[in-house]
């Protein structure tokens, strides 16, 4: 029976500095693992209560699809898009001060020759209106191993100081 730890941080946590950042990237991701987990705590300077970021894989710009379901505190809705594999929700600059979103992105078999499917959970609770709870399914119809991830604010805003992103690899035997 294998007993080694298989949940390993890849590189270091990215913490956005005082100047903000238009995007957060992880490059040269090794093919050592089987699954990836990306954890993001984010806030945008976009002037709204809610913002969202797009995740791009290997700088690929086509062949994405996404289905999401979300609740905003009063109703639930569902939509699709083909822009990027996932939207990662964050709170905007008019949301309650010091609140940050939480997002968990799981990517199975990221180094395999299969198309890449992802599972995303995003929440933006800020003790006010217009908070979102989001679940998403994303697909990149491309068989290349994933070696880079780039998360960019979809509203041309910036991630603000203290936003963080951590990437983990899961290894099986």
């Amino acid at each position: 029976m294998a007993t080694a730890n298989t949940f390993v941080q890849i590189g270091s946590t990215v913490t956005v500095g005082s100047g903000g950042a238009a995007n957060i990237s992880f490059s040269s991701i090794p093919a050592t693992y089987t699954d990836l987990v990306l954890i993001i705590s984010g806030r945008s300077d976009y002037a709204a209560t809610i913002s969202r970021a797009k995740m791009q894989i290997n700088a690929i710009t086509t062949n994405y699809s996404n289905t999401m379901a979300y609740g905003d505190g009063s109703s639930v809705s569902s939509t699709t898009n083909t822009d990027y594999i996932t939207y990662i929700y964050s709170v905007g600059s008019t949301a309650t001060a010091s609140t940050f979103s939480n997002s968990n992105i799981y990517i199975p078999n990221y180094a395999g020759s299969n198309y890449k499917s992802v599972s995303v959970d995003s929440v933006t609770e800020n003790n006010a209106t217009a908070a979102y709870a989001v679940i998403e399914a994303g697909l990149l119809s491309n068989t290349a191993a994933i070696s880079s991830l780039t998360i960019t604010d979809a509203n041309s805003g910036n991630f603000v100081q203290y936003s963080t992103a951590s990437l983990y690899g899961i290894l099986k035997y």
């Binding site: 080694a4 730890n5 639930v76 078999n109 198309y115 399914a137 119809s141």
Partner: protein, 161 residues
């Protein structure tokens, strides 16, 4: 103090041919929670992915409540006598299943699942197995069609620090 291993690969399977069922058996009681990650495609027919624990085939011992979105609308429902923990689609998709406190012999067992098939459906399911036995055996299966060749199933154990 050095941290112990807390996220451990217990077993994994990659289908070399299409199959309607897979089983993880002899699961040790060493951990606190289990996580199963399935990724792949279905053969010709989409269907619910179901789960039986400890070879208990009695449908009446299982129930689930779910919420999903299909890109147009979102809805919620519940089934009694149903073993659903996910969906199996022809398109590349994944299901992630978390079984909490699986090795205690006192409480019924609760499962939280996420099903992800972009272009078809995204959903979350909470399932209940009304049995207090420690889980040592997990069978995943589809009632129609098969899991296709290349579909992967990984079983992980989460240990208390």
């Amino acid at each position: 103090m050095a941290a112990g291993a807390t996220y451990v690969s217990i077993a994994s399977q990659t289908l070399s041919s299409a199959a309607s069922t897979i089983t993880f058996s002899s699961i040790p009681a060493t951990y606190t929670d289990l996580i199963i990650v399935q990724q792949g495609t279905a053969v010709t027919t989409a269907a619910a992915m179901q789960m039986e624990l400890n070879s208990d085939t009695t449908a009446g011992n299982y129930s689930c409540t779910f919420m999903y979105g299909d890109g147009t609308s979102a809805a919620s429902g519940r089934y009694t006598g149903d073993k659903m923990v996910g969906r199996n689609y022809i398109q590349q998709q994944n299901n992630i299943i978390q079984i909490m406190n699986y090795s205690n012999a006192t409480t019924y067992k609760t499962t939280l699942s996420r099903s992800n098939a972009a272009g078809n459906l995204v959903g979350t399911i909470v399932s209940l197995w009304r049995n207090t036995a420690a889980i040592t055996n997990v069978r995943l299966f589809v009632g129609a069609g098969n899991f296709d060749t290349g579909t992967t199933f990984s079983l992980y154990g989460i240990a208390a620090a």
